[in-house]
Amino acid sequence: MTVNPKKLRPYDVPPKRRRSLIPGGPDSAATGFLVAAAVWLALATALGALAIGLRIISFEFSFGLGLFDLSLEFNQRRVDYAFVNATVYGWLTNAGFAAIAFMTPRLLGRRIVAEPVLNLGLAAWNLALAGGIAALYVFDLGPNAPLTAFPWLIDGGLATGALIVTGVFFATAGVALQSGYVSLWFAAVALLSLLGLVSLNAAIGLFDFFIGLPELMVALASAYIERAVLVMWLLGMAYATIHYVVPRATGQPLASAGIAMLSFLTWLVLAPFSGLGPLLEQSIPFAITSLGAVATMLLIVPAALAVVNLVQTLQGRWTLLFGPGTGAAAFAVVALAFLLAASLLEAIGALRSVHDLVGGTDWERGAFLWATYGTFTFGAFALAEHALPRILRRAWGGGLLSGAQLWLAFVGVTIAGLALMGGGMAEGSLLAEGTAADAIDAGVIGYRAAAFLGFGLVALAGLVMLVNLFLMYTSGEPAEYSVPGQAATAAAGH
């Protein structure tokens, strides 16, 4: 019997596929984290330019919200805190989660366990963060450093998000982690560190709210958490990412597993102690803070080892950096350069004589910029450049936007970091001479103006990334890549 396809009866038509409320497809979480990261990058860079601008022209206002006597307060400290949180917990942490969601299945050959749950983690983390940044303009910041200034309820939301991501990662990796690639080791320790630190912060906030803790104790705990988030979570994820991207982007094996392991071990030993460095308080033994300072200086060791190892991995493929388009390798190389430079600067800044001069000045913000918008951001750019075509099955639109993104961010962060560090040295010298505050502000205004312009370029790079991503999604040429856990759809690699 022949069937006329034009006369199908209703029950012959396959039912429409229902879309679930929470996405659960392969790489859906990695996509979500990367898109969230890109949005946070645009917001963070705008806030950063504003924060530097407020160092040049001080401006503040407040008005009542008409609710529980709350008022919205806008000032330099609050904008600065919002910038740091949007950068660290918004842009870089979402990019770190995306790296984990992307790398893990590809390195282990198994799909993410409970991808919808990971998407819930994405929602929990980002909703809490958005609420936290809004709360920074309303609630008392107390004696906290930027990364611990959210109300305890918000911290609880962040801890929940981190717990979900950590749980899904370990459920996916399981015992295979023991024999896994070094990127997974870095990621595992970094994730556990993030979970521990945000949970500790939430617990401190909870106790402080209900029973009240001494201000100094809260401030010291805050200083430790602030530093540890940078060197344990973000630095760990930067190592994880570049150790993944460089061999993949070059198509060459990692130069040395031994050096990679030594890099991991030295970072693992030193990073937790580095958090002790900022605890410069009379009641803390001098030897403890010295130990923290030395650990910070010695972090140059894993950085140098990783740079040498990955540069050796790149050997013979340098043309990738100069060919049409930029590619993940170019972003990774800039990340390596910043890794070495920022580690060296951190080491110099940890010397007591140097810290006496530049501690509390713009130097610290300059060093922060080189680490976050240099090392960590370029590591995340490299991952996005490599991962997004494989996730969305589309090619990047062209080399022009990627090139603009790379150069704007590179030139911008270099200028902004150098200007702030130079300004910090000038500020420290003026303070040591006992110069009045007004005269100091006048003395460093040129440095701050240069930093403002430099960071404006970084903000532009953030916008370029968003536009590039939008164009790829809407009009990128289809490109086939294999998906882990499914049949390979193309010969293209990961």
Partner: protein, 159 residues
């Protein structure tokens, strides 16, 4: 077919230079640590707390540093003692600190601590000034280091 593409490595061993570099830098760090075991940390700069920021530590008291600290103290000295620090209303003059305490409530402190009564009074957090009627004078001990207090008093004595 399950896609599983672990990253290969060219070499599994650890080159001698990597071990040597690591040991050398750790050795340098160890020496630096050993040479920095004794000392005292400055007071912790609590974020958000007002303060004059870091100044040169150590060395002789510097009236110029003291002048900057007086100008930037929170609350400002001039707010109560007048723009020229010559006193305002019930708040005493800060001129003539070199001659000893003028206020009656500080006479005993001046007698018992003739060299550093002013530092102790401005600090306000030490046992020596416990129980003294401060008459609205804030305690600056949490804001300034002992060296900074010395510089402030050196400046006041120069007026």
């Amino acid at each position: 077919m399950t896609v599983h593409t672990p990253i290969e490595t060219r070499s599994g061993g650890l080159p001698p230079w990597a071990i040597g570099l690591t040991l050398f830098v750790f050795l340098v760090g160890g020496v630096y640590l050993l040479s920095n075991l004794a000392g005292e940390n400055p007071p912790f700069a609590i974020p958000g707390a007002s303060g004059p920021g870091p100044v040169a530590s150590g060395g002789a008291p510097d009236p110029a540093v003291g002048e900057a600290l007086v100008a930037n103290a929170q609350p400002q000295c001039a707010g109560c003692h007048g723009a020229d620090l010559a006193g305002s209303g019930s708040f005493p003059s800060l001129l003539g600190v070199a001659d000893g305490p003028a206020s009656e409530n500080l006479q005993d402190l001046g007698t018992e601590h003739p060299d550093d009564w002013a530092q102790l009074w401005i600090d306000g957090t030490t046992p020596e000034t416990e129980g003294l009627d401060r008459g609205g004078m804030p305690q600056f001990g949490d804001q300034f280091t002992p060296e900074q207090l010395d510089s402030i008093v050196a400046y006041l004595k120069s007026l």
